[in-house]
Structure formats: structure tokens, C-alpha cells
């Protein structure tokens, strides 16, 4: 019996937890931003404004499901589901704790990279199908940004892979019992963190959205739950990237005294907070500056890190 129930509990537990946390993060982010910006943030609905999430959900669900006449309708409807689906699938390979996790893939890391690559179609297709110039510009920016940043996103992780000798995320965590990879792989961590921000389209890399330039970028024409899916998808990707950084660089569930799940959650939430802090603090670079930064700084850095790690590993053999 348990052979069926335990994986099922894992699957639904993680699925529901991820979606709920992402929804809760819409409240958490606003509260944190409010805290840093000398203002209360949403604090009216329920204790500490916690039920704001419910209020927002009700609003989004009952809003008119509007599709503009000029849109490419099938693509327009499909686009927001892509980001939700791929991000949730990405959670499948995350090892939350020794016993918790959906699937133990040998190529877990590659699976994650594949999922995050597919996610960009959501933004591009949404931007294209809206048939709106702002959305189109947003979609274009998303395409260019992802192409540039995925290159070194993958490369930055190869140092970790070399050190642990595996693409399997559980084995990578286990390999960190001696010490977290953030210390030997600090450059890799930095590069991946920055690429991760770009991947989840968060400020300062929110150019596809860039509300001050493109009103709302790729989701200008979206409303109701379709917009909600983009919205939750963004938070899902923030959590996903954070939990992946936890797994790869911060020793995953490893830690003294507390149960492994708690360690994992603590580390992940710290990273999520860092994402939000970045948004509160930084201005947005220009599109061409972002590209230059990617190709001229981050890519060489990732390559140098790869070379150095490889060299040291060979030397030690």
C-alpha cells in the first residue's frame, strides 16, 4: 500500500505546497516591500492581512475572462498555462528532504534546465498572441534575454556537477556533507543567482515586463485568471530557483539540530527574501546594457569558473 501512497502524498503535497506558497508569496512580497519602504503593505484582510491572498483569488476568479478580439486566441489562452505547467514540473526534481521529493532523476539538473527553457515560450507566445505592440516588445525582450542568460545559467552549474560528479540533485546534496558548494563555487553561485533573477523576470531583470516603459509588457492584454497564472508562475519560478540554489549551493536539507525539511525551507525562504530585497533596492538596466552584461561579463566569468574548477579537480587527482 505504502508503495502507492507515499509517492502520491509526495506528489500532491509538493504540488499543493508550491502553489499555495506561490500564492502566499504575493502577500509576502507586498508586506516585505512595505516593510522596507516605510509603509504598511496589505494589512486589512484577516490577521496581518494574510487573507489578502484569498481576496485576490476571489477577484481574479470572478473577473470577466476577457480575450481581445485582435488576439491569436488559441495561443493567447495557452500561453499562461505553459509557465505554470513547466514551473510545477520543475518542482518534481527538487529534493526537499531525504524522504520528500517527487522523483529522483539521474538527470535532474538537466530536467530543470529544460523546464526553465520551455517556460520562456509562455512569455514569448503571450507577447506575440496579444497582438499588441507593448506585448510584442516585451516578448522580444524576453526571447533575447533568455537566449543570452541561459547560456551561462547552464555553464555556471557545471562546476557543481564536476565537484559532485553527478546530475542527480540528491547526490549533489549528499556531496555537500563535507561543506556547502557556495564556498568553492562562489562565482558559480553568483552567476547562477543573477541568471536566475533574469530567468524569473524579476527586477532588475524584469525588462519583458518593465512597467515604466512597456506598461505591463507581455501581459498587457491579460486579465483575470490568465493574468493570475502569469503572476503565480512568476512566484513559482522565484521559489523554484531559490530551492534549486539551496540544493546546489547551500547544502539542501543538510544542517544540524533542526529537521531537514525545516532547514530546506529556511534556506529557501532566505533566498526568496533576497529576491524581493533586490527588487526593492535596484533600478533597471537598459535592454542593451543587460545584453552586454550577460555576454561580456557573466559568460566569461562562468567559463573561467568552469576552467578553474576543472583544473583544480584534475590537479587533485
Amino acid at each position: 500500500m505504502s508503495a502507492v501512497w507515499i509517492p502520491l502524498a509526495n506528489i500532491f503535497g509538493i504540488l499543493i505546497a508550491a502553489v499555495l506558497l506561490a500564492a502566499l508569496l504575493t502577500w509576502g512580497e507586498r508586506r516585505l516591500l512595505g516593510f522596507w519602504q516605510d509603509r504598511p503593505g496589505p494589512n486589512r484582510v484577516g490577521p496581518f492581512g494574510l487573507l489578502q491572498v484569498v481576496a485576490d483569488m476571489i477577484k481574479l476568479f470572478f473577473k470577466e475572462d476577457f480575450v481581445p478580439r485582435f488576439a491569436d486566441i488559441p495561443v493567447f489562452v495557452l500561453a499562461p498555462t505553459v509557465v505554470m505547467a513547466t514551473m510545477l514540473l520543475g518542482f518534481a526534481v527538487i529534493p526537499v528532504a531525504p524522504q520528500i521529493g517527487v522523483i529522483d532523476l539521474n538527470v535532474g539538473l538537466l530536467f530543470f534546465l529544460a523546464m526553465s527553457s520551455i517556460a520562456v515560450y509562455s512569455v514569448m507566445l503571450g507577447g506575440y498572441a496579444s497582438n499588441n505592440k507593448y506585448a510584442l516588445l516585451g516578448g522580444l525582450r524576453a526571447g533575447a534575454q533568455t537566449v543570452s542568460y541561459e547560456v551561462f545559467m547552464g555553464l555556471s552549474l557545471m562546476g557543481v556537477v564536476m565537484m559532485s560528479g553527478s546530475f542527480n540533485l540528491r547526490e549533489i546534496v549528499q556531496a555537500q556533507t563535507e561543506g556547502w558548494f557556495i564556498i568553492p563555487q562562489f562565482v558559480g553561485f553568483l552567476v547562477f543567482f543573477i541568471a536566475g533573477i533574469a530567468e524569473s523576470h524579476r527586477l532588475p531583470f524584469d525588462l519583458p515586463e518593465a512597467e515604466h516603459e512597456l506598461t505591463a509588457g507581455f501581459h498587457t492584454e491579460y486579465s483575470g485568471m490568465k493574468f493570475g497564472m502569469f503572476f503565480v508562475g512568476e512566484y513559482l519560478s522565484v521559489i523554484l530557483i531559490s530551492s534549486l540554489i539551496t540544493t546546489l549551493f547551500l547544502g539542501g536539507w543538510l544542517g544540524p539540530w533542526l529537521p531537514p525539511v525545516v532547514w530546506f525551507c529556511l534556506k529557501t525562504s532566505f533566498l526568496v527574501m533576497l529576491f524581493i530585497l533586490m527588487r526593492a533596492a535596484l533600478p533597471r538596466p537598459r535592454y542593451d546594457q543587460l545584453m552586454q552584461f550577460g555576454w561580456k561579463v557573466m559568460l566569461p566569468l562562468a567559463l573561467a569558473n568552469l576552467l578553474l574548477t576543472g583544473g583544480i579537480l584534475l590537479w587533485n587527482q
Binding site: W36, Q37, L137, D206, H212, L282, P283, R284, P285, Q289
Partner: protein, 601 residues
């Protein structure tokens, strides 16, 4: 009744010497005699000239005169047809149904002059000044729109304030001022279709090609509802990818006819309307209006009132600059600073509220002084603010100005030099960011600014970043001025004792009938200002703001012209943004610091 109408009694100011020097230079250097000097308003020399002689005279004043008039400060018109009192030596003034008024500024002479051109109703056309000053473009469109005067040789003479489908020219005297003066509005199907058609975007009408040899352009309609255009402002962008080939600003969405309203509101009751011109400037807007009226009526303002005015104006300058600072950071993507700055602004509004009772639009200055004396304990609040603010400003400097990302976004973006700025009528911080140290508060001090010790911040990059830095420095200087006000606030009355001040004196009304009648009349109709013409520029938050007031000796203005800095500044957008990216345009818009009500009036 006409004998009861006083003519303007204003006294010559300290600038009479500069005016006379100019007239001397003109007589010496200009070989022709094609002008006639209007004898009144001598500290703003006023030359009448003919249509044919206009352009040569303007060209001479701009480039050949020693210490030339580099800036076309303002260009407007007057519908003279109902005017009964045209001032001193009226009989020898040229016959005129409509008068064009060109106002020029020389930063070397610190002098404003007026050139007037008389037009008969039968032939309302004049040569366009656009070949001499490119910035005449919008001014002439505005005159065409509001008065129906044509300009020959204008590249693009279309309506600018009113919708394309509007019938009539609103600032003409026969045009109605209120909707109740005409039949109720109705929208027939035919009319609706016409209105809809007028809204269609045709790039050719905006002077843009649809494609070049190598690329087909995309047209992006930025605004009138867009988060970064600071109000209802529209820019039609011609894009190649994200690169801006051309940007054509479109204004008029915020037009409320403030100048027309001035012709029906009593002198006193127009003060609240001025508040809403630059709605971030608060009482700063009242200042040029009441100063102009005081000049017209010869009212001496007591020292205490002057100092209170300066203090309130500087408080509003800080408040306006804080909004600029925050939104500037926000428009380049930085989310937080605007919240911190609004906290400070809130403190300022607390002070303003304690003193005036209002917050954004106190309408608190009066003809001859201010509305009330300062409340007890006023200085405690201000002192607290003065002690609190510098530390906050230091924090913002680290957060915004020293931020490398922000510097990369704004340095070298939207650059113009001093010559271009003068040519386009740029004033205020936008001019001082090009390295020209020119501030009206120093050059032509008014309201007692000569009594204060402060510096004029200048940077010479002429880009978005320097425009921001100048304003930040100005906040520091304003704090200095306010501290001097608090430390040296003179005693005495807060309002002049002149009979034309409003509301009028009440002390003796119960003793004699004459004073009672005057009090009653001044309160019910408002004061009757002497006939005459004045113009008073002040250094407002965004640049030079002036009210040109023509009184026909009545209870309302015959014509009020509001010259606002933002109008001139927006015209420069195409020049500043060509070849850059959409994101740069947003930074440029933010750095101009405009308010749409200030543009459209």
C-alpha cells in the same frame, strides 16, 4: 464711468536702467525705424512693429544685437476688439483687432522685452517665426488654435490644445466661456463617426514616414495613459526595433481653459485657479499672479508678507523637487525611493496644512499679502523639518545618485547644450544643468530674494543625470533660504494696507459709510484694478513661470496669459530622444520634470 477707471500706477523698478540701456543699444545698432515704443510698461520695453518688418527685427534681436535676445520666452495673442482702454497715448498706438505678442529674454541683459504686431480682423495672418526660433512652432499652433490667426510658412499648423473637430477659436471674445451659454451637448451618430475618424492615427499627418529603404517602422503610441508620462501626455513614436527614429509629442489632453476662465473670474477669485496650473507647485503659482497685480495696482507688500511668501514658495519647491526625485528614480526602475520621499513630502504638507489649512492647493496668497498671519508655534515645525531633512537627503544621494546602474541609465542621455537650451526656451533646472548660472531669483530678485544668502547649483553635462543633480542641490539651497526666513522673520502686518487688497480692510467699516460701501463692493464684485498691462516672471519649481495680465479697468482680467515652463520643455523631446531607445525616452521624460496641467493650462 470711464473717469473713475484709474490707469496703471506702477512704479519703475530697479530694472528700468537695463531697459533704457537696451533702448539705447537698439537705437544705435538697428538702422531701421520700423518700430514704435509703447510709452508705458517701461521696465519691459514694448515695441510695436509691422508684419513685414517683424522677422528682420526678430532676427536682428536674436543674432546681431550686442548682448542678444537668445530666447523666445513667450508668444501669444490678444483679442483687442472689445478693449476700451489701451493705456497711455492710446491714440498713437497702431490700430489693432488682434495683437501678437512676442516676448524675448536676454540672459546677458537679464531683460525681457515685448514685440507687438497689430493684425486687422480682415486679414489674420502673420509670418511664422519658426525659421528663427524652432520653438515658435507650438506657440504659433496654440495661437492658431485659440485665436484663429494663421502663420505663413509654419511647417505644421494644426490644432494643439483643442480636438481636431472643434469649431471656433476659444480665446476669441465671441467664443462662449461656459457650456451653459450654448445648446446642450448631443452626440449624433454622424458626429460620433467624425470624432472617431479624427482619432485615427495617420503617421503622415504627424510628419513621419511609414518605412525607409531598409526597414518598415513600427509606430508606438505612448500615452495618453501610460505609467511614465506623468499625466495625460501622448508621444507618437516611430521605432526601428526599439530604437527611436522620431518622437512626436501630442498635448492638449489636460487643457482646461485656464486663460479663458481668467476672463470671467474676479481678480481675487482667480487665485485658486492658479494653484492648479503647476499642481505640484502649490502657492508658488499664486506668486507671479499676485505680484503682477500688485505691480499693476502699485501695492507695496510689507516685509513680513514677502518673507512668508518666500518661505512658503521654497517649501513647495522642495516638495515639488522631492516628487521629481522619487519619480525620476522610479522611472529608471528603482522602486523604493519614491516612498521615502513621499514620507518627507507628507511632513512638508503637514507644515503647509498647519500654516495655510490647505495641502496641495492652499490658494493662500492674497493681492497685497497673504491670507492669514502665521499661527503660533509655526517655527517649531519648520525647524524640526530643517534639522531632519539633510540626513534624509544624504541617504537618498547614496541610494539614487550614487547608484551605478542609475548613472549608466542617465549619464549622456538626452543631452543638450546651453545654446540649444536658450534656443528652445528651456528655463529653470534644465537650463542650469547645461552650465549656465542663471536664476531669476538672483538676476532679477523679486519678493525680497535679494535679502537671502543662497547659491545657484550648476552642472554642465546637460544630460538627465545632471538635471537631477541640479534639483537635488536646489533642495539644499531651499532649506538654507527657509532657515534664514525662520531666523529672521520680520514683524509687522501680513498684508498691505492698500484699498485694493482683498479681502479689504474691515476696521473702519462700522464708522463711516464710504468705507462700508467700498468694503461691500470689493467683497461682492471684487476690486477694480487699474487699466494697464503687466507681466511678472518668477523662478518657479520647473522654470520660469509668468502671468501677463491685461486689465481694462474692470473687476476681471481682459486677458491673462500664463507662460509656463513645461510647455516649452516638452517641445524639445524629439531633439533629445532621436536615435535612443524607448527606455531612454522614459528617463528623459522623467528628467524634464513636467506637469501636464502646467503644459496645457
Amino acid at each position: 464711468m470711464s473717469s473713475a477707471i484709474a490707469t496703471s500706477v506702477y512704479r519703475p523698478t530697479a530694472y528700468r536702467a537695463a531697459a533704457e540701456a537696451f533702448i539705447g543699444d537698439l537705437r544705435r545698432e538697428y538702422a531701421h525705424e520700423h518700430y514704435w515704443l509703447q510709452p508705458d510698461c517701461l521696465d519691459m520695453p514694448t515695441l510695436w512693429t509691422g508684419q513685414r518688418e517683424l522677422l528682420p527685427l526678430l532676427r536682428f534681436l536674436k543674432s546681431s544685437l550686442s548682448q542678444p535676445f537668445a530666447m523666445l520666452y513667450d508668444l501669444t495673442a490678444i483679442d483687442e476688439r472689445l478693449r476700451t482702454n489701451r493705456g497711455e497715448r492710446e491714440a498713437s498706438q497702431p490700430e489693432s483687432d488682434f495683437t501678437l505678442v512676442y516676448q524675448l529674454l536676454s540672459v546677458e541683459r537679464d531683460l525681457f522685452i515685448r514685440i507687438k504686431v497689430a493684425l486687422p480682423e480682415s486679414r489674420l495672418s502673420a509670418p511664422s517665426a519658426t525659421p528663427i526660433w524652432a520653438c515658435a512652432n507650438w506657440y504659433e499652433r496654440e495661437i492658431w488654435d485659440l485665436f484663429g490667426i494663421e502663420f505663413c510658412g509654419h511647417p505644421h499648423l494644426r490644432r494643439i490644445m483643442m480636438p481636431e473637430t472643434w469649431a471656433g477659436h476659444p480665446l476669441r471674445k465671441e467664443h462662449h466661456a461656459r457650456a451653459t451659454e450654448v445648446d446642450p451637448f448631443s452626440l449624433s451618430a454622424d458626429k460620433q463617426r467624425k470624432e472617431q475618424e479624427a482619432l485615427l492615427f495617420k503617421p503622415e499627418e504627424w510628419g513621419m514616414a511609414r518605412a525607409s529603404d531598409s526597414a518598415e517602422f513600427m509606430f508606438l503610441n505612448l500615452g495618453p495613459n501610460h505609467p511614465s508620462v506623468h499625466g495625460v501626455f501622448r508621444v507618437a513614436l516611430q521605432l526601428d526595433g526599439e530604437q527611436i527614429i522620431d518622437a512626436v509629442p501630442d498635448i492638449g489632453y489636460h487643457h482646461r481653459g485656464a486663460e479663458k476662465m481668467a476672463e470671467r473670474q474676479a481678480w481675487h477669485s482667480y487665485i485658486p485657479y492658479t494653484d492648479r496650473i503647476d499642481y505640484l507647485g502649490g502657492v508658488m503659482n499664486n506668486l507671479p499672479y499676485v505680484l503682477a497685480l500688485e505691480q499693476l495696482a502699485g501695492i507695496e507688500v510689507p516685509a513680513r508678507a514677502q518673507t512668508i511668501r518666500v518661505m512658503m514658495c521654497e517649501l513647495f519647491r522642495i516638495s515639488s523637487h522631492l516628487v521629481f526625485y522619487g519619480t525620476f528614480a522610479q522611472d529608471v526602475g528603482q522602486m523604493s525611493p519614491v516612498f521615502y520621499m513621499f514620507v518627507d513630502r507628507e511632513k512638508l504638507f503637514g507644515i503647509v496644512e498647519a500654516i495655510t489649512g490647505g495641502r496641495m492647493h492652499p490658494a493662500w496668497f492674497r493681492i497685497g499679502g497673504v491670507a492669514q498671519d502665521l499661527p503660533r508655534g509655526w517655527d517649531t515645525m519648520i525647524r524640526e523639518f530643517l534639522d531632519y531633512m539633510p540626513a534624509r537627503l544624504r541617504e537618498y544621494e547614496g541610494m539614487v545618485l550614487k547608484n551605478k546602474l542609475l548613472q549608466r541609465r542617465t549619464r549622456g542621455i538626452g543631452v543638450y547644450d546651453t545654446a540649444e537650451a536658450l534656443d528652445w526656451g528651456i528655463t529653470g533646472p534644465g537650463l542650469r544643468a547645461t552650465g549656465l548660472e542663471w536664476d531669476l531669483r538672483k538676476r532679477r530678485p523679486y519678493s525680497g530674494y535679494d535679502q537671502f544668502d543662497f547659491d545657484i547649483p550648476v552642472y554642465d553635462g546637460g544630460d538627465c543625470f545632471d538635471r537631477c543633480r541640479v534639483r537635488v542641490e536646489e533642495i539644499h539651497q531651499s532649506l538654507r533660504i527657509i532657515r534664514q526666513c525662520v531666523d529672521n522673520m520680520p514683524g509687522g502686518p501680513y498684508k498691505s494696507d492698500h484699498p485694493l487688497t482683498t479681502p479689504p480692510r474691515k476696521e473702519r467699516t462700522m464708522q463711516d459709510i464710504e468705507t462700508l460701501i467700498q468694503h461691500f463692493v470689493n467683497n461682492s464684485w471684487g476690486p477694480v484694478m487699474p487699466a494697464g498691462e503687466t507681466c511678472f516672471p518668477v523662478e518657479a519649481t520647473k522654470g520660469l513661470n509668468s502671468y501677463q495680465i491685461i486689465s481694462d479697468g474692470g473687476t476681471t482680467a481682459y486677458r491673462t496669459r500664463i507662460r509656463t515652463p513645461s510647455f516649452a520643455h516638452l517641445q524639445m523631446i524629439p531633439l533629445m530622444s532621436r536615435g535612443l531607445l524607448v527606455a531612454d525616452l522614459i528617463a528623459i521624460l522623467a528628467s524634464i520634470d513636467f506637469v501636464m496641467a502646467d503644459v496645457d493650462r
